[in-house]
Every structure is written in C-alpha cells, then in structure tokens.
C-alpha cells in the first residue's frame, strides 16, 4: 500500500523538530493534522544543513540549542502515535541517522509507522549499495529528490525504487527558502515528469510559499510541500495555514 496516493491534491508541511520550543513538535503535528494537512515532514535538525537557506538554518540551530536530538524526537512521536492518522515523513541529513545507528533508527521508524524517510544527501546509488537491505528489512520506504534537470532515465530509476513513497520534485535548483514565485517556464517540465512517474505521486517542494504557488504546483503535481515559509510564519507569529486552506 502506498499511503501517499489520494484522490485529491495534497498539501504537506515541513516542520523543524524542536522549533520553536523543544516540546512544540507533537502539538504542531496534531494541530496541522486537525487543519487538514495531508502529510507532515518532520525535520531532524543538523548543525550543517548544506542545502538549506537561512530560515531552516536558523530553526535548526534553535532546535539543537533547545536540546532536540533523535531520542527526544522519537519519544515525542511515540507519545502521539495513537492520535496521528496522516503519514509522517522523517527528513534530515544522513549524518545524525548514521551516528544514531541506522538499524536502531529504522527499527524505531517501523515501530512508529513512519511512512517514509528523506535523506537529501544520500543518492539512490549509495542507498542501493549500502543501505537498501536494512531499509527493506524494517519495511521503511525512502523518498528521493529529483530536479527539473534530472534525466528521464534517472527519474525512471527513482520511480522504480519509490513504489511505497512519493517523488520529491525540487521546484528548481536552489537551496530551500527562496522567496520568488515559482518559475512558470518550468511548469511544462513538471507535467512531463508527472507523466513519467506513473503510479508514484509527485510532490513539489522548495521555494513554495504562497497560495498561488500551491495552486500552480497542483496544476501538474499531486501535492505541494511548504517548509521555510511555514517556519518563517512561526517566527513572525503569523497563521500561514489559515491563508492556505
């Protein structure tokens, strides 16, 4: 079963675990669920987030200063596991996962019914050579990133490995948090990619910040993922979700 297949266009929110306060994560997940968000990416903070812009850099360093770590996060998720119905995805850089112990990490993901894991700095080649076996042993699915310039051949390879998850289509080659509206010259490529990903949902992320961006994402893709804009709204104490749904 693929938990990311729905007969409606989806909206997903990325949160930084442990931001704004150490104990805010569980409450945020339940609140986003109650507001109709379709799935949530829970960001595991890392000291050196090389693909992230200033907003997620800042939320990550605040979260770490608050004391967030893998054990705390899993315990928090455990405390709400009977209340969460929507899919939870864990997203983070590879190093904290490796240092925690991949097997221990996957075991806890399985226990908590984590729907998928995104590790942007791990390529599909490295996954298949070193880690796939353990992911399969614990029945945890991986979600891979592609970009508009990823070759069709490579997209096919990623699709083949994603039957239980989704394709994370990065809107354009840039780090997270870019504020400009989506580049309409890429919309055609998004549609082509959607065609290539038969049977696997395509979610568009990176740089999506407004209702208009979400609507544009929904023209070609199955869902939109908002990260920096949501975190920025928390920093500015604004209710972004009310504007979006």
């Amino acid at each position: 079963m693929n938990r990311f297949i729905k007969d409606k266009k989806q909206l997903s929110i990325f949160i930084t675990a442990g931001f704004p306060t150490l104990d805010s994560t569980a409450a945020q997940i339940l609140e986003l669920q109650s507001k109709g968000i379709d799935f949530i990416e829970v960001g595991i903070p890392f000291s050196d987030p090389m693909a992230d812009g200033v907003v997620i850099q800042e939320s990550s360093s605040i979260a770490l200063a608050n004391g967030m770590n893998m054990d705390v996060l899993f315990d928090q998720l455990d405390s709400i596991k009977n209340q969460v119905q929507i899919p939870l995805v864990l997203m983070g850089y590879l190093n904290p996962v490796l240092q925690y112990g991949l097997e221990k990490f996957l075991k806890r993901c399985k226990d908590l019914k984590i729907a998928s894991v995104i590790l942007p700095d791990m390529s599909i080649e490295i996954y298949e050579r070193f880690y796939k076996e353990l992911f399969e042993k614990y029945e945890v699915s991986m979600t891979f990133l592609i970009t508009p310039t990823t070759s069709n051949e490579r997209i096919q390879k990623v699709v083949n490995a994603s039957s239980k998850s989704f394709i994370y289509l990065v809107s354009q080659t840039s780090i997270t948090g870019k504020k400009q509206a989506l580049d309409s010259s890429l919309f055609e490529r998004y549609s082509e990619i959607k065609q290539l990903c038969k049977g696997v949902p395509v979610m568009l992320g990176f740089g999506i910040s407004t209702k208009e961006d979400v609507e544009n994402a929904h023209l070609s893709c199955d869902g939109a993922i908002i990260g920096s804009a949501y975190i920025r709204s928390l920093m500015e104490k604004k209710d972004l979700i009310a504007e979006l749904v």
Partner: protein, 395 residues
C-alpha cells in the same frame, strides 16, 4: 595516469576503502557528473598535462627547492630536509591545485569561480589564477578567519576577488565551505574550486593528483642529494590534507616510507578545544564525503578549534581517513603553543618564517623518535607572512 594503486585508487562510487563517496543532494548531481566527465578526459590528455606542467614551472616557479636544514639535522641527529612549498608563487602549496582546477574550469567553459578558504592561502591562490584566466572570483571565508588572516583578505581583494564572510557556526573554514556549497547549488554554472582533498568525489582524488607534483619532485631531488629517492619519514600538517596528500602521494605504495600526518591539537586533544580530527573523531558525513569527523553522540558536528585557520576544520580528507584507519599513515597532534615555538625556532635557525599550519609539522619533530638511519622530509607547506601578527603577539 589512471592509478591502479593500492591506497590512492577509488572505486566506482569514489570510495577509498570505507571512506569518500559523493554525499550531495540531487541538486548538485549534474554538476558533479559534468566535473567527473571532464576531469577523467583531461587527466589523460597530453596537451592539458603540458599546460599544467608549463604553468607550474614558469608561473609558480617549480620545482620548489628541497633544502637540507643543517641546524635541524644537528638537533635531531639525522638529515632533515624541508620541501619549500613556501617559495611557490602566492606562498603555499595551494597554488598547485588552483592551477590544475582553473585549467579544467577553462576547458569546461566556466566563467565564474567560487572557493572556500580558511587561512586565505587557497583564496589567494584562487583569486590569482582567476586574474590570470580572466574569471570572476568569489571567495567564502569565515568571519573569524577574515579577522585573523587579514593580509590575505587584502590580497584577494586587490586581485579582484569578492570576499564573502561566512557568519554561521564557528565562523571558520567549515562554515565557509557550507556557504560555498549553498552558493553552488543556487548557481550551478559556477565552478567550485575546492582547496583541499575534501568534498564529494571526484574532488579528493583530483586535488590529490594535482598536489602529487610535490612528492614527484621530492623523489628526484632526494635522489640527487642523497643517492636514494626514498626518505624514511615524511611529515606534513593536515587541515583537509592536501599538502600531506601531495607529499605522500608517490610514496603510499612504498611501505618502508613512514607517513606522518600532523593535526592541530589546539589547546590539547582532550581540552575540548581542538581540531585533531583523527584523535577525537569517528566516521561521519560532512561536505559531501564520508570521512573521519568531529561530532557528538547525535552526529552534530563539533566546532573545531585551532590557532591556525588552515587547520581549523572538523574533518579530514577521505584518503587520510582511509590510510590512517588501515595503519598506513600515522597521525599525531601538536598544540598551538608547540606550533608557535616551532615557528620561532625555524625563523631563528634558518631564516625561514613558516606558516602557522606548516609550523605544526616542524613542531612534530619533537614527538617522533629518530635514529641516525632516518632521512626525514618535512613539507613546509607555506610561508608565515600572513601570521606575523599572531607571531608578534606571542613573543
């Protein structure tokens, strides 16, 4: 030139043993593929090789001398040679790699170069070759390093480079590298000219190859001066490890030659203020490769510390991680104070003011047992002009 060598060869995914690889987001994948393709073509290309060698000779001033220090020889009771990378144009070994990569960037049709720098030596080398080749140059440098290596910041700017301060984390080399990578993701047409044997494959192998000219010359020069091309020990400091990789490169497969990597101990390996990665680190992923890394139990990178900006880095290149792990390379560490004293010693003994980084290699002499049969080469990776303020404050 493809190496079938035991220690310096990488597998198809860019691993030396268990270390290395390319751990980057998909956003950089096209860039790395384009780079690998061009690098693999050009490293076999005779015209490219000739251009590289010619610039090293006529522009950089190679070969750099191999100089027998009589006073160090007397003190340690065995011949001690200094490989004078400090005499290169721009004042360190960093120019060797910068020349190699700028030629590659030119062949790839690139017009914008970005680089990270710690001590500023790689930044100056990059700004220099960009001036030579009419390329736009942006150098990322930690705010703390901009302060403590001010002369090099001035040189970069005078050469026409833009210097962008990195203000996150410890505001040093690690953070400058993060900023360079972020800029690269946003500007995929730029060429990222990495300054050490770190980063995702193919950078570590490429930088090591461009620096291997150091050990090629040592072989010829030592043969001329002693009758044998092999020393018994080679000593080099390690930040990311490019000068060490260059000085060790031709000797890896000759196990009789002892390879000694000197890391920055900072205030002491157990003080919590150190950059001695192999002493306190364990395997982890940073800046695109799996290597030895200073990190806490949850995999967060520990901010390193060293008085020397060029060694103030929480990782080491995967080639070093591998060779240290399998016992081919020995690593030791030297504290700030020991390095400062060694710098003064070399100045007084030989009239040579070493860079703070290189002073760590000199200080290591006090931590190594020598016999009269030893023949030692120290890689003097750079000169100390940039460190005069630090040296004077220590007096």
């Amino acid at each position: 030139m493809i190496s079938e060598k035991k220690y310096t060869a990488v597998d198809d995914l860019g691993f030396y043993g268990e270390f290395g690889g390319a751990f980057v987001p998909e956003l950089l994948r096209d860039n790395l593929e384009e780079l690998s393709l061009n690098y693999n073509l050009l490293k076999e290309d005779e015209a490219f090789q000739n251009e590289f060698v010619s610039l090293l000779k006529h522009y950089v001033g190679r070969p750099s001398p191999l100089y027998l220090s009589q006073k160090l020889t007397n003190e340690y009771q065995c011949p001690i040679f200094l490989k004078r990378e400090d005499l290169n144009h721009t004042g360190s070994h960093k120019i060797n790699n910068a020349i190699g990569q700028i030629l590659l960037a030119k062949k790839m049709g690139k017009t914008e170069i970005i680089a990270e720098t710690g001590a500023g030596q790689h930044g100056v080398a990059t700004a220099t070759v960009c001036a030579l080749m009419d390329m736009k140059c942006i150098v990322f440098m930690g705010e703390k390093d901009i302060e403590r290596q001010a002369p090099n910041v001035q040189r970069m700017k005078y050469l026409g480079a833009e210097v962008v301060p990195a203000t996150s984390g410890s505001k040093t080399l690690k953070d400058a590298t993060n900023e360079a990578i972020r800029y690269w993701i946003n500007h995929t047409n730029a060429y990222y000219l990495i300054g050490s044997v770190v980063g995702p494959h193919p950078y570590p192998a490429m930088v090591a190859l461009f620096q291997s000219v150091i050990s090629k010359e040592i072989k010829t020069q030592l043969k001329e001066q002693t009758g044998s091309e092999n020393p018994t020990k080679i000593v080099a400091c390690v930040g990311g490890g490019s000068n060490a990789a260059g000085a060790f490169f031709e000797y890896y497969d000759n196990e009789e030659v002892e390879l000694i990597a000197v890391e920055a101990g900072g205030m002491g390996v157990d003080s919590g203020h150190t950059a001695a990665t192999s002493a306190v680190g364990n395997p982890g992923v940073l800046h695109g490769s799996l290597t030895l890394l200073m990190q806490d139990e949850y995999g967060q990178v520990i901010e390193p510390y060293s008085i020397s900006a060029g060694l103030d880095y929480p990782g080491i290149g995967p080639l070093h991680a591998h060779t240290i792990q399998v016992g081919r390379t020995k690593s030791i560490s030297v504290t700030d104070d020991e390095a400062l004293k060694a710098a003064k010693k070399l100045a007084v003994y030989e009239g040579i003011i070493p860079a703070l980084e290189s002073a760590h290699a000199i200080a290591a002499l006090d931590k190594i047992d020598f016999s009269s049969n030893d023949v030692v080469v120290i890689n003097l990776s750079g000169r100390g002009d940039k460190d005069m303020e630090t040296y004077l404050n220590f007096e």
